[in-house]
Amino acid sequence: MSMGDRALTTGADDGGPEFVQLLTPEGERVEHPEYSVDLTDDEYRGLYKDLVMVRRIDAEATALQRQGELGIWASLLGQEAAQIGSGRAMRPQDMAFPTYREHGVGYCRGVDPLRPLGLFRGVDQGAWDPREHNFHLYTIVIGAQCLHATGYAMGVTKDGKVGTDDGEAVIAYLGDGATSQGDVNEAFIWASVFAAPVVFFCQNNQYAISEPLERQTRIPLYKRAHGFGFPGVRVDGNDVLATLAVTRKALDDARMGQGPSFIEAYTYRMGAHTTSDDPTRYRIASEVEAWKHKDPIARVHSFLIKQQLGDAAFFESVEAEADELAARLRAGCLSMPEPQPLSIFDHVYADGSAEIDEQRASFGAYLESFADAHPGGGH
């Protein structure tokens, strides 16, 4: 792949000229003609704290996996700003449809960070109530959730919940690899022709496991939206302020009845695809090093210091709170109840099934037979 080809897909290494940025990697606030944020001091500090917290959640989960307590973990390292910016852009009534990496968005939606660990530990397949948090369960089949989000958004329209400032909007998360999926392209078409109030939020982290962006596209991803008939915008996904501003506008446009839009959050997956992956086999260290200089947290840290919005005591208190959360996560993970064998048969059908009941009873009796053979010992 020549550099020419790489430029075709990415615009340029820094994201290209159309890339919306409000906070540089050095922590300088810059203006953009279309997008802005006007936050209070507490809100700036709040975003910083969010970023630190979700990175700490991620680090703890990775450690738990390395110690054998999770079967696998999909790290969000490097994508904190994309997730916090978009997650904090949502209003309570908005609905999110995540992939399996949106731990930071779930955090913003009030899902206890312990909950997603259940899936990766293997004790459940998603333990939070999607309606309580307006945050759907994780979807592992790539891109399938984009159709669910679109259908849900069509339902929002049917319910008459668009066209006013207190309307509802929907956000579908996807990655760069997912843009090749049929379901995602079908979702774009559906959303477009039905003018569904849905924002497609693509975290372009440059890799689909080992495959670089060039394997998915010949043009910058955000430019695809135009062909489907709705706006597309590329934002610095490592800039929490820009991501917040861009997503907030997209959600507001959707809730006001302007239809769908596409956001390409240009970022980088600093870690492996999951803990089972070995990124040294397909990317070079210098690329990772270059992205370290665009770290999403360091720039907010610099900004807070320059603006005198955070002192040493503040930063220490955030770190302490993050450590406290990590300790709670660890303890909570280790003490998650093991699922009972007969729970296999629960919830297969809403209306029940005599066949499943029979299998449950039969397997229960089989297990019981061991209890009889070894009193007190189980099997």
């Binding site: 669910h148 989000a149 259908g151 049929g182 379901d183 079908e186 078409i189 059908y349 809403a350 099934s353």
Partner: protein, 327 residues
Amino acid sequence: MAKTTFIKALNAGLRKAMEEDEKVLLMGEDIGKLGGVFRITDGLQKDFGEERVIDTPLAESGILGTAIGMAMRGYRPVCEIQFDGFVYPAYDQIVSQLAKMHYRSQGKIKMPIVVRIPFGGGIGAVEHHSESPEAYFAHTAGLKVVACSNPADGYTMIQQAIRSDDPVIFLEPKRRYHEKAELDLDAVDLASAYPLHQSRIVREGAGCTVVAYGPMVKTALEAATAAEGERDIEVIDLRTLSPLDLDPVYASVQKTGRLVVVHEAPGNLGMGSEVAARVTERCFYSLEAPVLRVTGFDTPYPAARVEEEYLPDLDRVLDAVDRTFSF
């Protein structure tokens, strides 16, 4: 009493369900102004509007995937797949998303979605228009699968399926669409209708049991009539393929000692295999002969001019019945 075609019965059933519950939506290709390629939804968009009878873009995965989202929002979508062979683009959304949602959410998300599929052959169609995909779906936990065989069942079963809080794959025997039955739709009371997930004895007999569903029920009944005087055949309409309701089959086999299962789908790992296995487990000492299957062959569905050879017919059913008497 008025004669009602299968098409009219299904249409009336959909209309009734839409009148009773405003959350019921229809989605599919060409189901609006055209009324569907088989006219099952004829007139419904005119009466219920484009918001409830939705002509979708031409993508089956999109139909199912967006239906799932609408169900999460409280709607009860009824999706029309135009022909059996076109359901496969929606396969992931059906087996990985729709079927598992209630389970993985620990009962928090219900999926009251009906997927209507005109299925089976015998209409002289080009390829992909004559298939019997039921085993794929019956094999998938979380889905319910039913097949109606006559207009009266079509009318009640579609309404029962729509009322179900579980996803239902609803198979309609397209070769029987134009057949008529004496049916007074106004006299039907859904509350006392035959339950959705129960099989039914449609002809009593003491010599041999023939189990069929969908389009093959009529074939089995014709075989039983043709054999009158020589073979006393009991015919059971399976109606529900998942969950199976085999209690009437077990009772029948305990009486007749012989069982033939008939379906259009290929025999290998088809519904007949499961019925045979379960009957063997439950009725081993009642059986006078092995359970026999009369099915489509383990080939792709053939060209229309040889489909009569591929499809089970009256003679092949009776040949199998005769063979059960030769053991």
